[in-house]
């Protein structure tokens, strides 16, 4: 068994926090609230990490990488608006609890693989609720509010969807349902989900869901025709959407040439590109840029703000951190013997990786922009809590495997 040194990255995290918030404190006219936020965040990380290490809860790196990403996110949010940064810490606090709760539940329940119907139905119920109760934010009708609290059900649906897919692909669900084989059933549910997402105009989530589906088919499906049939149908649907859906035409048009209509349709992406271009390699320095010119800078466009003030190298660091997170998740998935856990692990890994690629690619104009949050970095309760929950599942999977395979090692030590 590997015995990596996880203390060094932990120190790096502490140094990064200390330096980052000290810098922000100096840039912010020495107002102490920045330091309180920084200390709070660091305390939170140390607490979460200590519990993790003391209780020997599997992989030691996942949380460290996520913490580093959250540090960058909170730093940027505090720089934009200290109140927002403080609120984000509250969400991280709640997220941390959700992390441990998810971990315990997932760790202790062994019949996840038999509940495919619940996941599929739960997803659809959430979708219907969104359509009935939802309100429209930035052109996407994907929010539900309860009084002052509001959340994005599509974030939660993604996890249901992954667990649903895993039931089939781990081979735990073999009986046909309404004469439909599980293979066809997964396809049907996927397309129903996508249909709901189209109604909500949540293009980013459609992309994530569909790509997870395609990668899962690639890995697990023996019949190659099913993979090709899905890719072909996606191509047809995409072409159809481009020809007949104004929303998609606008997005593609703006991607090809944002400068044609800078003051309207191209405004967002142009502001994002201005910010990235202003940053150069090393950035304009924390507090020296003007990221507030970008609309939605605290959620979808936070990467552009990081690029403006921390430079392309700062942006590259974020990309590399996400790659490390994905790599670590892949490693856990590969080491897992339990078929169901393996499929869930793969799904969550893909969710982290694809979501990152889609939003960072979008705000840099590498691919057409579809609004979606950057896990752990973007502001927002649902995003932070669901990212933590996904991490909790991943952590539980790693712990389950370590516990099983580690019995021998424990005796040796």
């Amino acid at each position: 068994m590997e015995k990596a040194n996880f203390k060094l990255p932990a120190y790096l995290l502490i140094i990064m926090n200390a330096l980052g918030f000290l810098l922000l404190f100096m840039a912010n006219d020495y107002r102490a609230n920045v330091l309180y936020v920084g200390l709070g965040l660091l305390g939170l990380f140390i607490l979460i990490y200590s519990i993790l290490v003391i209780c020997n809860m599997g992989d030691k790196f996942l949380v460290l990488i996520a913490s580093m990403l959250m540090t960058l996110g909170v730093l940027m949010l505090c720089r934009l608006d200290i109140i927002m940064g403080a609120r984000q810490i509250v969400w991280i606090c709640i997220g941390g609890m959700v992390f441990f709760v998810t971990y315990c539940i997932y760790y202790n329940i062994r019949f996840w693989n038999r509940m495919w119907f619940l996941y599929a139905a739960g997803g659809i119920i959430l979708f219907v609720l969104t359509l009935v109760l939802g309100k429209t934010v930035n052109g996407s009708r994907n929010w539900i509010s309860f009084g002052p609290l509001s959340f994005q059900p599509s974030e939660i649906i993604k996890i249901f969807y992954i667990m649903f897919l895993a039931c089939h692909y781990s081979g735990s669900w073999t009986k046909p349902f309404l004469r439909l084989s599980p293979t066809l059933m997964t396809g049907a549910v996927t397309y129903v989900y996508i249909l709901f997402l189209v109604l909500q105009r949540d293009w980013g989530t459609i992309l994530v869901v569909f790509l997870i589906f395609i990668f899962m088919i690639y890995v697990y499906e023996e019949q190659k025709w099913f993979l090709f049939a899905n890719i072909a149908s996606a191509a047809v649907v995409a072409a159809f959407g481009y020809l007949f859906l104004y929303h998609i035409q606008v997005r593609v048009g703006v991607w090809l040439d944002p400068w044609a209509d800078v003051s309207n349709k191209g405004y967002q992406i142009a502001q994002s590109l201005f910010a990235i271009a202003a940053g150069g390699y090393f950035g304009r320095g924390l507090g020296n840029g003007a990221p507030d010119y970008i609309p939605e800078v605290h959620t979808d466009f936070i990467f552009s703000a990081i690029c403006e003030e921390m430079g392309v190298f700062g942006g590259a660091a974020v990309i590399i951190l996400f790659f490390l997170l994905a790599y670590r998740c892949f490693k856990i998935t590969l080491n897992t013997k339990n078929l169901y856990n393996k499929a869930v692990g793969l799904g969550i890994t893909l969710m982290f990786a694809l979501q990152t690629f889609i939003i960072i690619g979008g705000v840099t104009k590498f691919i057409p922009l579809t609004g979606i949050t950057l896990p752990f970095v973007s502001y927002g309760g649902t995003s932070v809590v669901v990212s933590f929950a996904s991490l909790g599942i991943m952590q539980a999977i790693s712990a389950l495997e370590a516990r099983k395979g580690g019995t021998e090692r424990d005796e040796n030590e």
Binding site: V219, C307, V312, A316, Y327, F330, A353
Partner: protein, 461 residues
């Protein structure tokens, strides 16, 4: 295990995606960021201006051409005391419509970027620019060109210093007037926003015979006699001499002075497309000239150039398009013994009268040999003394020049003149074009060039 093998392939795909993101981000920063950040819609460009007073632009004698002043409400405003005269040299600087020409190209210098002097009070001051242009000559040239449409470029053929540069029609660059009249300016069919001197592409007409004559000399055609019947015909191409004149038996030298199309078409045809294309490239056709402002690349636009095409190019017609700046550079090459010299407009960048950076003369390449340049210069002197360019004569000074009357589809001819003086030790080279003037270059453009050269020579004495 099969599943794991496939998962590893997925891992490879995901790694490729992340690598693509990283590479794109670097690519964007290396190749696109600069263009993106100077977009007029980028509000950041004006952020710096809150902390820095934009530098002043002076002429060669220290006269203010552009300065930033505070207005009544405490905001800042860019003022151009000379009005329209420099609208196509300095450009404009408007919070609404962005920046152009020098204001754009030298934006970071004017904002003092890279100035590490930290002890200078509350508001920093950007660097100042000192131009090579003296206002007296620029103003005189502007008056000569007044009411016309076209361009004038005057430069020192030995050093490349720009002495005057006019493009017309123009506009008032002062922000308040500019913003009020922007709609009219943009919709005006004469495009007053185009800096014709560096961005305008025209057929050079007979002024291009300078290049053809150089090619003829290099290929041993000097002294050859031709029989001029007033008309050049090959295949279905027919080119007549200006006003249908016939010169009979004529030497190539005389044909240059009287600007015979028949003779020069024959030369172009006989030398063939490869030779014409190659010498054009040596004279910087097909490349944009390195300059303080963005210049359009003069070019020969044929996909595949035939020998009858080269007959047309030899007299500056066909698919050949040049900028007035390019013609001034070609003319300077003849004047300075065959070298393509880099023109420049900003003489030095200073801060509180201390020089931060000063421009140096630079030879971009050699077009022709000194003997060849001398041969063409003789032809140009003859042109002014006894050929089509007699209206460019200055008493007591030898002038070398070439006229051009360029045909263009459906519209009246462009009148051209390029020349330099004094021919023995050239101090000024001028290119003048009058768009759709209708008259010949010798009649309309030559006098303007003469006046500008004469004025300059008398002022330096």
């Amino acid at each position: 295990m099969k599943t794991n093998r496939r998962i590893i392939r997925v891992l490879i795909v995901v790694s490729a995606l992340f690598l693509a993101l990283l590479s794109y981000l670097l690519y964007f920063n290396m190749f696109e960021a600069e263009r993106v950040s100077t977009n007029p819609y980028n509000r950041r460009q004006w952020d710096d201006e809150r902390y820095v007073t934009r530098g002043t632009i002076y002429d060669a004698d220290g006269l203010v051409l552009a300065e930033t002043v505070e207005n009544e409400s405490g905001g800042v405003m860019r003022k151009y005391p000379q009005g329209r005269i420099y609208s196509h040299v300095i450009g404009y600087c408007s919070q609404v419509y962005g920046k152009s020409l020098l204001e754009r190209e030298y934006d970071s210098e004017l904002l003092g970027k890279g100035d590490l002097d930290l002890f200078q009070g509350d508001k920093k001051k950007g660097f100042d620019l000192n131009l090579t242009i003296a206002n007296s000559l620029q103003k005189y040239a502007y008056e000569q060109m007044r009411g016309k449409r076209g361009a004038l470029v005057a430069m020192n053929p030995q050093t490349g210093k720009i002495l005057a540069m006019i493009s017309l029609p123009d506009f008032d660059p002062n922000a308040a007037t500019l913003e009020k009249s922007w709609g009219d300016i943009v919709e005006n069919e004469n495009s007053p926003l185009i800096a014709r001197a560096v961005q305008g592409l025209y057929p050079p007409g007979s002024t291009y015979k300078i290049v053809t004559a150089a090619a003829a000399y290099e290929n041993g055609l000097a002294g050859t006699k031709f029989n001029d019947e007033g008309k050049f015909t090959v295949g279905d191409l027919t080119v007549e001499n200006y006003n249908g004149k016939k010169y009979g038996e004529i030497s190539i030298e005389k044909a240059f002075a009287v600007s015979s199309n028949q003779v020069f078409c024959s030369v172009g045809f006989e030398l063939g497309s490869e030779i014409i294309k190659e010498i054009s490239e040596r004279f910087w056709i097909g490349k944009s000239i390195e300059f303080d402002l963005q210049t359009a690349a003069s070019r020969i636009e044929y996909k595949k150039m035939s020998d009858s095409d080269s007959a047309l190019v030899a007299i500056g017609q066909g698919q050949l398009l040049t900028t007035p700046m390019e013609m001034a550079v070609i003319c300077s090459a003849i004047a300075n013994g065959g070298e393509i010299i880099r023109p420049y407009l900003v003489d030095s960048i200073t801060k509180n009268e201390t020089v931060v950076k000063s421009s140096k003369e630079k030879v971009l390449g050699r077009a022709i040999s000194e003997e060849c340049a001398e041969y063409v210069k003789e032809r140009m002197i003859e042109t002014v003394n006894e050929g089509t360019g007699t209206k460019a004569r200055i008493s007591g000074v030898t002038v070398a020049g070439k006229t051009g009357t360029a045909e263009n589809e459906n519209e009246k001819d462009h009148a051209w003149f390029v020349g330099f003086a004094p021919a023995e030790t050239p101090e000024i080279a001028v290119a003048v074009i009058l768009e759709n003037d209708g008259r010949s270059g010798g009649d309309s453009a030559a006098p303007i060039a003469r006046n500008v050269m004469s004025r300059y020579l008398s002022s330096v004495k």
